[in-house]
Amino acid sequence: MSALARRNQGVESRRRTDWTMARFILRRLLLLPVMLLAASVVIFLMLRLGPSDPALDYLRLSRVPPTPQALDEARRALGLDLPLIAQYADWLWKALRLDFGQSYVTSRPVLPDLLHYLPATLQLAGAALVITLAVSVPLGVWAARYRDGLPDQIVRLIAAIGVSMPNFWLGFLLALLFSVHLGWLPAMGRDGWSSLIMPAAAISFMTLSINARLLRASMLEAAGQRHVAWARLRGLSPRTVERSHVLRNALLPVITATGMYVGELIGGALVIESIFGWPGVGRYAVSAIFNRDYPVIQCFTLLMVAIFVICNLIVDIIYAWADPRVRLAAESAP
């Protein structure tokens, strides 16, 4: 085959790859509303078929004595006297126009309130994700490089502590050390980067521990493959082999895992916010759960599902971009 033909073939295959990639992304994007719809049905049914009566909770939160008459009125006002399917259709029709109802407690529309608090939570979870990756990748590489040596033992110990540490307790310990004793960082509030460090660190300790161990295992597995032996035989330096032939492959499981970390980190943020007075969605959601403020719980959960599904979509796209085998599989699929 001539050089020109080979080059043309390369261009051709790249074009085809771009196209499959686009189709892959498009298919996943089309799946997104379907998943959200399915989630909304489950959430709706769980809340409606749960053991408690929304009308009763509504009256309790409005401080109205639950007389049978008041209950009837509340049921009618909330549409609870309609059949389930009609209730859901009503809810869905409003939800499609971004109307998720009003909080039973504050009587304010739910979605604007949630969207008001959400960015702070996402910022915190995002910072925690950055810390997770920035710390765990060097740790994992270091542990794998000196397998069973001292660095490996150190990383193993850090990881063992990290997966066992209650994040809310760690938050208090960090605040005691860095705010009270050293006075380096603010203990409360959301005021610039310095206030972000401690809560993000407290949230990320668990995920960075898991990720360091994951990357170590994945590095060792990748290092045992034949193309790595071949790279070594070719006389490439150990660092080059490690970077271009081992780490590159070893990062693939990490990309997948990152999708899971997003959920863990947002969940961690919901807990940690209360310690550091971080003005996120956590306090709002927890008090709604405590009060059984159904419209808030419903909208909050759906929002979490949406964020999680979108993050996983992004992760899948990055994965497909990073691993040519996925693209090729997508190509051969019908």
Partner: protein
């Protein structure tokens, strides 16, 4: 949708061989390294404290005495007293019972659901299997804490509902493991022989398939117990699980929040108890995994 677990423990479903059998406790002890031995001692001590706590606490864990509130540690109150004058050590011991008790109940629920659902999927196969596993996939991929929060929102606040929420968010891992093992064994001759000998499907499952899953279930359960303990305490810390005045470690930390700057030890002790317990159980789980099931070597995180 991606699954971390699918990537990491996918080989579980694949290897059809039952895991190497344990040689009993004594041998585990002899071969374990010192961290595992220490973890085993801590875990046993913890279980002992939890069981005996109604009788052996030095003071009544719920006796309020404002005259002696926020006492430093001394000979009578070994770890001092809290903001209501309750003995911290006694509350820690009583808290062990609540923590371990709720985790044990949650784990029993999870194992039961996992064995029944996973066993059904694996044993029946076909469409039933497909349907069950699609549902399980949703539970596998979704973040447990958010799902637990939602479950508590739907069911209401309280320890019972937290336990149910934990069970609902964790059963799928076990179901998938059981299903994988059952699926790999169900075409083997000894299963057919058992059916031919007249055993019912349920009998065959209990007598011949369940034992093969035990080692891996034990490992997964031990690895998960610490994680679940953190969950229960975290939800109690948020005020959604165990509620005051019951002594529970998460509640104790939440109670200590107002005094965290003036009396930091108040929140230090329950956190330390939680941390040490979880670490001991995790270490024990790691050691059991290395012993019973080397194929599970990859991290189990969710």
């Amino acid at each position: 949708m991606t699954s971390l677990d699918g990537e990491l423990t996918g080989d579980l479903a694949g290897d059809g061989l039952p895991p190497p059998h344990a040689h009993g406790r004594a041998s585990f002890w002899r071969e374990a390294r010192w961290p595992a031995r220490m973890a085993a001692v801590v875990a046993c001590a913890l279980a002992l404290i939890a069981i005996l706590s109604p009788w052996v606490t030095p003071h009544d864990p719920n006796a309020v005495d404002l005259a002696i509130r926020l006492q430093p540690a001394d000979a009578v109150y070994w770890l001092g007293t809290d903001h209501l004058g309750r003995d911290i050590l006694s509350r820690l011991m009583a808290g062990a019972a609540v923590s371990l008790g709720s985790v044990a109940v949650a784990m029993a629920l999870i194992l039961t659901a996992g064995i029944i659902i996973g066993g059904t999927a694996g044993f029946l196969g076909g469409r039933v299997d497909q349907a069950i596993m699609r549902v399980a996939d949703v539970f596998l991929t979704f973040p447990t804490i958010v799902m637990a929060l939602f479950m508590v929102g739907a069911l209401g606040v309280g320890l019972t509902n937290v336990i149910i929420a934990i069970a609902v968010t964790h059963w799928a891992w076990y179901a998938r493991m059981v299903r994988g093992i059952v699926l790999s064994l169900r075409r083997r001759d000894f299963i057919a022989a058992s059916r031919l000998a007249g055993a019912s499907p349920a009998q065959t499952f209990v007598r011949h398939l369940l034992p093969a899953t035990m080692a891996q279930l034990l490992v997964l359960a031990t690895l998960d117990i610490g994680h679940i303990m953190l969950h229960v305490s975290g939800l109690s810390f948020l005020g959604l699980g165990v509620t005051a005045p019951t002594a529970e470690w998460g509640v104790m930390i939440a109670d200590a929040r107002e005094y965290v700057w003036t009396e930091p030890l108040l929140m230090f002790w329950p956190g330390l108890a939680l941390f040490i317990s979880v670490m001991a159980l995790n270490t024990l789980g790691d050691a059991l995994r290395d012993r019973l099931d080397p194929s599970l070597r990859a991290e189990h995180g969710h």
